[in-house]
Symmetry: none
Subunit: 192 residues, 4 copies
DNA sequence: GATGAATGAGCTTTCATTCAT
DNA sequence: AATGAATGAAAGCTCATTCAT
């Protein structure tokens, strides 16, 4: 059907040009359907955008959740989560670019609202893992879990972004190691 | 003169609406000048945007640098830097929103390029501080300084963003404490 | 379809107002289509202009060529050509006004270039007829055929222009007679 | 004074860009005066344009007239006139480009009217010379003098234009010879 | 289900002109 | 006599959306 082709094309076009510069013409062209077909399948540009981000977030969370059902130690869980997000920010770059850069202002309010909800849910999901760790293992510092989750996402996103524009300088293992260290142990040596 | 009024209005409008939804009409209206005056003072929308971000980055860096000239211990320096960035992301929200959310795609390439340069410079500036700490005090873990700097900015930005949309739930001190802890010591207790 | 309506309206508007004063709004109005329709059918103002002139030149040359295929004497050919150009400058006034007056500066360079090419081709076409006459009938003076062709067009254009702004004073036959005489025999009597 | 500088600059700018693309900014820049100064010296763009063309036409006619006062034979007079116009179209290219290409439509009506008057006067002046020849020397064919004058100007203008864009192919003497021949004797040999 | 010609609101930009100095 | 910051009307163009087929 057309719906799939359109969504695939739309992810690309939105991520390459940003929400506003992405034109329905371009998406139709890339999806090899007529412009009218876009409107036959989606109510409008903003709803198409919404559909894409929603689907993307759901896929990601399902995948992570599947990996975390097994009862593994917290540290392991966090390492896994970090890996998943590296994958998200590096390999599913099209989607993550849309989801994390294009959600600021300048988009129809209703879309923005729903997308923020999705991001909140994602955050809450991460926070849940942390909370769990805090209760069960009294292993974690006394953070607010939501703030900490936000911090983690931020760390990963920006490190990946930097990595992507300087791929020649680093190996992916370095990135992974530094990211995990940063998140789990912070900047300072605990020597003293 | 008009130039100042325009830049002030433009920061607001850009941050409220994003680059593309911000219209020159609105900026002119807000600055209480005629539309032509915008073009008398700036070559065009993208250059106006560029001018604003540039000026903002420069101000921020000058302010931080001024605070860090005194020979204070690294931990102190980082605390200070964190505070400055909290200020940036919370109080100079208009600017930081532009500078860190609006720099994705969909903006004229030349503007994007220069703005990325500014962000790199900002990162390099932070990395410089870390590097210094690494050399002089062998206090820091063996990170790549640039990656670490990116991680720090990311942490702060996302934590602040979360904080801003849940201001009712947290006191600023909490945010500050958690942010600093997160950055300096990471998630985990070092007990065992 | 709209394309035809637009071109018809555009010829009128361009010829009445000149390229720069002709506005896309006016053309759309005259063609009874929405402004967007202009841009749906043509990439922009300059390309619309180009399309019009191109089509016009082609029509003219085809018509003349069709009349000149028969093997008639040179003098006859030239008389015919003169008649065709009188028709062009007098009856297809809208088009010829565009094609011969609006091709100066102040128009997008690429359009100008192509339009000059068209004019050159038209000239070359005339020059070809003359050249033929020179070879076959050693009837013509020893002109450079291109220069002569340019001279002929110039003569006709300016005479027609003068005639058009003083139609009350002359009959069309006078114009035709004088034009042909001027071109074929020049100012002076060959009496002596 | 500024007036002179402005007119000099304006001739250049108008001829390079055409009336509409020529901007008052550019003229002011080129004349090295402030924009306000243009309006101090001339009521507006169209009046500045008018002033330039008027001055130009007057200069030309004065120069020709000065050369024709002496009682020389008609043929000589016409040769001289041709030479003067070659000079006009080739060497005073800036001015003649304005005067003969930019006078179509798309210019304020009142300016257009006056400029047409100037062109008419110029034509009438040439026609006067021809008329004289017709009466005194019964040497000329029985043309309408005005139509003939228009034809002459047209011939010269177009030949010069062609020559200018193919300067590599012709010597100026060739142009002069062909132009004079064309005008005085037409295309055909009178052998028979 | 799918099409694509047509739309029109809204945008950035240009530029002749004004006027306080 | 000269300036130049400021103006605002008018232009070209984009693009999400509609609708008859």
């Amino acid at each position: 059907m057309s719906k799939g082709k359109i969504m695939l094309a739309a992810v690309e076009v939105f991520s390459e040009n940003g929400y506003h510069r992405a034109s329905m013409d371009e998406i139709a062209l890339r999806a090899q359907v007529a412009k009218g077909t876009l409107y036959y399948n989606f109510p409008g540009k903003s709803q198409l955008f919404k559909a894409i981000v929603k689907e993307g977030f759901e896929k990601v969370m399902v995948r992570i959740q599947a990996d975390l059902t097994a009862p593994i130690p917290l540290k392991e869980k966090i390492l896994l989560t970090v890996r998943h997000h590296l994958h998200l920010f590096l390999d599913a770059r099209h989607f993550s670019h849309i989801a994390f850069n294009e959600l600021s202002n300048g988009i129809e309010q209703d879309v923005l609202d729903e997308l923020n909800t999705l991001k909140q849910r994602h955050l809450a999901f991460l926070a849940g893992i942390l909370e769990e760790g805090k209760c069960e293992e009294r292993y974690l510092r006394d953070f607010d879990a939501n703030l900490a989750a936000a911090g983690i996402i931020g760390t990963l996103q920006h490190m990946c972004q930097y990595y992507l524009s300087h791929q020649d300088r680093y190996a992916r293992e370095e990135l992974e190691r530094d990211a995990f260290m940063m998140i789990s142990e912070g900047l300072f040596n605990k020597v003293e």
